[in-house]
Homo-oligomer: 663 residues x 3
């Protein structure tokens, strides 16, 4: 892609007449829209009747936009197969966990593993790629749209067959599977792979191995579809390829992006949940490390459907979002959607332009974004995000484990955002990194909520520690094997030894009145917990009361130049927050983490590195205004003022750019 | 029907032996019951085996009751087809939205569109009509019972075929439908009518057009069944025909009553919800304007089934209900049920007589009703409800639109009753009128929560305004087309121009801290809202704070001799109530509404017109007693006292009849 | 069984290797485990391939345990049929109320009425019995495991046929059924038994008779399966047979134990719900009167699965539980489970030993239990529970009636435990007795929440009264017939006459502001209530306010030497508790109940009879400590101190044994 910041929108010109399109393009120019995403639901337009494929509408449209200086992300239209593919073909449709077969009329209604679907998807994608793949207006591709957002694991008979093949490939022999899953429990034992059920209705819970493996199978299959589609496009186009995902969907994002060219996400967080928004930025920056990410969809004001709506953003927040995203590594900030839907089920969704062609309540905010984009573009393009010193591992495989075993309503995403928010609010510059990420450059690594720690992950972390890093593991990490079973050597497997502890007990602490104490701070302990007896390691957090009084919930163990810190439980409530932040600060200091900013809650600093200088982009996200303290003298790039190192103020939703004179 | 007030009950003599029936009739006479409704579930009694029809039991029963001075509403027994019609015939059964096929054993288990059901229903109805249609005891008919109370839209294959025919009739060509519904969205596009799905399970929401049209199709089909049955009865009986409906059921009441002779409803509102009870009276009076309505079912004390029960009425309330109903236009006040069920699933339901043949806890209250009926009968029969000046449009089509698009849990019925309660509690005499009602005689018209305003409705309302009426439109009115899509000319289509405004934005105001201000009163604005920029019209209510500060949520526009008032949002909470009532009073005054009574909350006045004089029937509904102020001197018809124009007191659940000396 | 107290655990050696088993046995010996329950899920181990049965693993295991002094309860493995029985045989699987067919992979997935299942179950049980039935280590049998814990009534076609046969056997002719169920209601009327539906999906509720009878049919069928299995075992083994049940499962425990040799239950109540724990002890003691019961499963600390967990027991509580159980008539106190599951869906469940072979957080508590067992064993073995004077009827048939007719969310179990807790907390020694229990020896009988009172029950109770007992009937008792219909002679049938009252009305009192007054105590009345007019009886509790002011909710009627007390309503809230306890005390005193102890709330006394002396075992259950008052001087058997009759203290979770010097 070109060397600029993109400001874009999703657009459905196939649903509007020429006059509306003309009006739209004029308003796009007015609003500073320089990129449009198109085509992801347009299968019935391009191939109205089976085999009669005509991409000319989009070919012209791309050129028309290009002539107005607007570039295009072209999509493949596979999330919405047309009626000729679905009608009278229940065997091609998605089947849910209750065995209900989906019908035509919404989206993702077809099983993406169905062979005929795959055949037709390959054909239409190839035709589209051939037709527009080399148009100068096409700067990128999006495959399909929000994989697995409305559906999760399909239970159709195609999937049944593929499941059996997948199991055979994974386990080799049925005996191996029986042993791995411990299937003599409840007489589940299988003689052949084709006997292994999908997790269909049962009187009580399925085997954890089966539940987790079926999720991983589904993860792999949707990624394979993505790979297959990407390969087809690459035959006819040089433009980079992405997929618009989120942490909500039932995909393994790390695996998904493996064979894609850049990462992008969709987000509809309300303003009061801005930590979730920043979480996405800090994570997506790291799926394709070194390449800018895209925000492919966000609302100019609020998300909605026939059956729900969100609170609209307060004025000014959209601009704060956009600046924060660009500062944290986004190349593009794009709306869903440009023009309000006239029909369907998302008419109430916020847009830039109304169905009757006029600016919506969000339009002025879009104009503010464009103004900001212009103001910050040169700074952004001449710098890049500084390597963080603090990393938190994010894993969609961990998400699958917790979906299988939620203990008592746990949700991986919520757990992670809460955890992340603590680190964010202390003021650390941070990365959320996928499981297989390189740990070079980090000083402090957090690994919470990862039931299964792979040998590779552990050895990477061990090396990180030996070279001087501090690794904070837990809560809920390490207690499950690759097959979602329990270790038989030690509670946390090899981690026990590495951490220099014996994990005595694991049990739920909620309701047991257990109190954790760390450096004179106390807090109630909750969720499923591990209780430690230090061996080579030492206890740094002691449990008072409850069933394990005197034992440790927090230990540290020196290894090489670094330390492994085991966090066995979750301190909860306001006091728990306080204790955790104290703990994180303590180890950050010990790890010599320097990228921490003294900033008031609700305001963030995104530090960026120029050629020989440092830039801070400061954004107020909570709409309350706040303060930040400059560590050295700097120049306010927007006002060109010189500012000495002191506490400065920032207005609600304001952003500032400070260039430090001495780096 | 004869010139009297009816006091009746539903009765199932087919379930009891002769001795019990004798006992029942004696107690009916004691309680003053003068009409009985029978037969609605008796199909298996009349046609125990297929084709062997014998109506003699009911024929005799009608005569026996008649001999005791008790008249009969005879029912057709179609809600409960017998086992010979259902057993081993899943294709005749109702299918729910999840695809579950109903079995025998409850009621409404058969699809009313099934051809064989229709055939058998026609036969049994004809035989019943032949047998009893001319008996002197039969004063009326009820078709079936509570259409669509336990079921809504059927998903069976019969319905699928009829749906396709209905669509073809409505749209002519599939291209027309595709265009109207905008089906290229999400590649829904159809080539033939027989591809259009029923709204079966799908990964996400169906197209709004499909969802709403399927409801309208279902509305039409059940009304056609009613029409068909009525035509059969009319071949053999002169007695007028009704159906007992409510606003809960999945029917279009206005359409349903089109081909029936009088309107009736069932109500089981608890005493603390008496506004809902009055709502029904004010609405049902207008389905067959000029004809008295019937309360066909209400509990003498409480409703119940095996799985639920309501709070029993406090003593005295039943009488208040009956007097209010008669005063507001009811000809009959009938209980469900006379004698407690011995078997089935409604044994716990309140009744007049217990299963063991004794008076229930409700019996004394029934006796009070009879006493009151006698006391007020001559006044009621010599007067009729005065034409209201204030009308509120009620529309089951609007209900269907909101069922498709509830935004965030909105329920049409609840919205309407809340809105109505404001007008009721101010003291206006009011009508709830169906969409196609004649607007003559009204001065103030309210049209809230009608997403789609038909051209006919708009032109009627426009005429009403030009002749001097004030039309208060909104909230939530006018923003959708006939196909449940968005207008493309203006936010509210032609309404914008009529109202002299430009509707700038529509969006959800909840959580945006928007404040509405009208005549120095402020209140928080909520729900999905329209924001206006007056053109010819003028702003009378301004928005403070939020995203549209300075714009209008309330405008007025003079047109002819009247005004169109646009209410774009819903002021909420206690302050919102206050603001709305202030607004309603303001425009009522401007419209010269005079039928307003100064009455304390919880007490109502029903004004009736005699030949040259006015009568007020005053009823305390909340059991707290209260006051009312006489505008002129009058005579208390019950005590024969002369009362000067002053504030008077009323006891808990008491009623009074005041005849004004000077009209 | 032998003359000792058992301390046991469930064990799954088939899932572990030899080394783990050796380790387990050593730890069992350390923990004092003297009995192991095995085999209930091991079908796939014993009969891996259809027809190839090999019991040798368990045969050896039993001998190995026996060699270490550990005895065995052997189980039949029928709750988990293996894959060769289920794969590709949907017709053998359990079908739920929504028609969903279960698949392999959990437990109870097969319909226990399926003929092929029965055939294979008979074969495997016979082979197991043959192989191990006479081993010296086998001291007892458990059939299957927790019948109907995850499933309730099956809707498969096998059950359909059996249902029709069962109905024919019960009613003889279809006319009899039609009359009994009153099927002309809603035209349900059947011509043949094979038309009677299972209670499948319907638009509204099914006939109460059908719903209740289908439950009784299901009760009977599972008991027949148990009978059949027991008979097979008895051909090859002298060891007594049980089944581990609870009050949660969908079984008729009284019927189930009819053909079994001893009763046992599973319990996972949290500590704060200890009344529920004691409820089970007081009930299971009476299913096989005169024989000690077993606690077959309880957690050493907490129950859990992948999707839930309970609060772990505080330290000390497990010992209190064990002592209370032994004191109240248990012969065994057994854990589920010995060693934490490595796989499956219950890995998080509390155990004695972890999956990695180490003591869990519960282990020390298990050691305390063993210490206590040894301390009390001789006292327990030389005494037995004293015959209680107070009895409360427990009925799973009543549970079925309330499941059909829950009024407003009523749950029989919760109602009963609340009621029981009042009697417990007053300090009465009490029995919970099945419906057909002999009433000899009791002085005060409570019969709450039994909708249908059988003629046999009434005549037993009548005799009990005539001989001097006081019978407190209600609330909710007596108002339904054997077919779950309403009486037609009197509200409560023959009970009215017996109680010397006319039950005037029955209706829900919630929300009616009815107040009950008894001996100067007042409380709000709630739930479905009966209102009495005394005839020969007299009113002792009067209703104030509400709809039946001045009538009685509580009456008594002398009959022979005793009294029938009718309790028509439920006094609720704290005042209701107070009133009920006053009432219970009043009649206990009148009935000359002497087995009442003056003990503080949270502490219990279990009185036991030795040969010429009395022993009290006192246990603090709430962990708060408390007091108890000795009525005479005694000896503290643990300290050997002499204690004069006075108030004594007891520590949290402490137990004491007092032997009274003069009995």
């Amino acid at each position: 892609m070109s060397n600029k910041l993109y400001h874009g929108a999703a657009y459905y010109p196939e649903l509007w007449n020429e006059e509306a399109i003309e009006n739209d393009i004029n308003l796009m120019i007015e609003a500073g829209i320089n990129v449009i995403r198109m085509g992801e639901f347009a299968w019935s337009i391009i191939e109205k009747e089976e085999g009669k494929i005509d991409v000319s509408f989009f070919n012209s449209m791309i050129n028309k936009l290009s002539n107005h200086g607007i570039e295009t992300i072209m999509c493949t239209p596979t999330p919405t197969p047309p009626i000729w593919l679905t009608h009278n073909h229940p065997e091609r449709m998605y089947v849910d966990a209750d065995g209900r077969v989906m019908g035509h009329g919404s989206r993702q209604h077809v099983c993406t593993n169905n062979a005929y679907f795959r055949e037709r998807a390959a054909i239409i994608t190839e035709e589209i790629a051939k037709s527009v793949g080399n148009l100068p207006g096409v700067i990128g591709w999006q495959i399909d749209n929000e994989f697995k957002c409305h559906v999760s694991e399909c239970m159709c008979t195609t999937c049944k067959t593929l499941w059996h093949e997948w199991l055979e490939k994974r386990y080799g022999t049925i005996d191996e599977l029986n042993e791995a899953w411990g299937t003599h429990i409840w007489s589940q034992h299988y003689h052949q792979f084709d006997q292994v059920p999908q997790p269909h209705p049962a009187p009580f819970l399925h085997n954890s191995s089966l539940k987790t493996m079926y999720q991983l199978f589904s993860y792999e299959k949707i990624a394979e579809f993505s790979d297959e589609q990407a390969a087809i496009i690459r035959k006819h186009s040089q433009a980079p390829i992405t997929h618009n995902s989120t942490t909500f969907f039932h995909v393994d994002n790390e695996r998904l992006y493996e064979n894609l060219d850049f990462a992008s996400f969709d987000t509809y967080a309300e303003q009061n949940n801005f930590a979730s928004y920043l979480f996405n930025c800090d994570l997506w920056r790291n799926f394709k490390k070194g390449k800018d990410f895209w925000i492919m969809e966000t609302s100019p004001s609020y998300s909605a459907s026939l059956e729900n709506y969100a609170v609209p953003h307060p004025n000014g927040y959209l601009k704060a979002e956009a600046v924060a995203a660009y500062a944290l590594g986004a190349e593009a900030f794009c709306y869903w959607l440009w023009r309000q839907q006239r029909t369907g089920c998302e008419q109430p969704h916020g847009s830039v332009i109304s169905a009757w062609g006029k600016p919506t309540v969000g339009f002025e905010n879009v104009m503010e974004v464009e103004k900001a984009r212009k103001e910050i573009e040169s700074v952004i393009l001449s710098t890049k995000p500084i390597q963080a010193e603090v990393a938190i591992t994010y894993s969609d495989i961990a998400k699958a484990f917790i979906k299988t075993e939620p203990h008592k309503g746990l949700d991986y995403r919520s757990l992670m955002i809460d955890y992340y928010e603590k680190i964010l609010s202390i003021g650390y510059h941070r990365d959320l990194i996928p499981e297989q990420a390189n740990l070079n450059g980090y000083k402090l690594l957090f690994t919470p909520f990862v039931h299964y720690l792979s040998p590779n992950y552990i050895s990477q972390a061990e090396k990180f520690v030996e070279e001087g890093g501090i690794w904070i593991v837990g809560p809920l990490s390490g207690g499950r094997t690759i097959n979602h079973t329990i270790h038989t050597d030690a509670a946390l497997g090899e981690l026990d030894q590495l951490a220099g502890v014996e994990t005595l007990f694991t049990y739920p602490m909620d309701g047991t009145e257990s109190i954790g104490e760390f450096m004179e701070t106390s807090a109630t302990l909750g969720i499923w917990s591990s209780v430690f007896q230090p061996k080579e390691g030492k206890s740094v957090g002691i449990i008072k009361n409850g069933l394990s009084a005197g034992k440790a919930f927090l230990t540290e163990n020196r290894r090489g130049k670094g330390k492994i810190v085991m966090l066995g439980s979750l301190p909860i409530g306001e006091q728990g927050d306080f204790l955790l932040k104290k703990c994180f600060n303590h180890y950050a200091e010990e790890a010599n983490v320097t990228l921490k900013t003294d900033v008031s809650k609700g305001t963030i600093v995104a530090p960026r590195q120029g050629n020989g200088y440092l830039v801070w982009i400061i954004v107020n996200m909570d709409g309350m205004g706040g303060t930040f303290t400059l560590p050295y003298d700097g120049i306010d790039e927007l006002s060109n003022e010189y500012i000495s190192n002191r506490e400065c103020e920032i207005e609600p939703f304001q952003y500032k750019i400070i260039r430090f004179t001495n780096d």
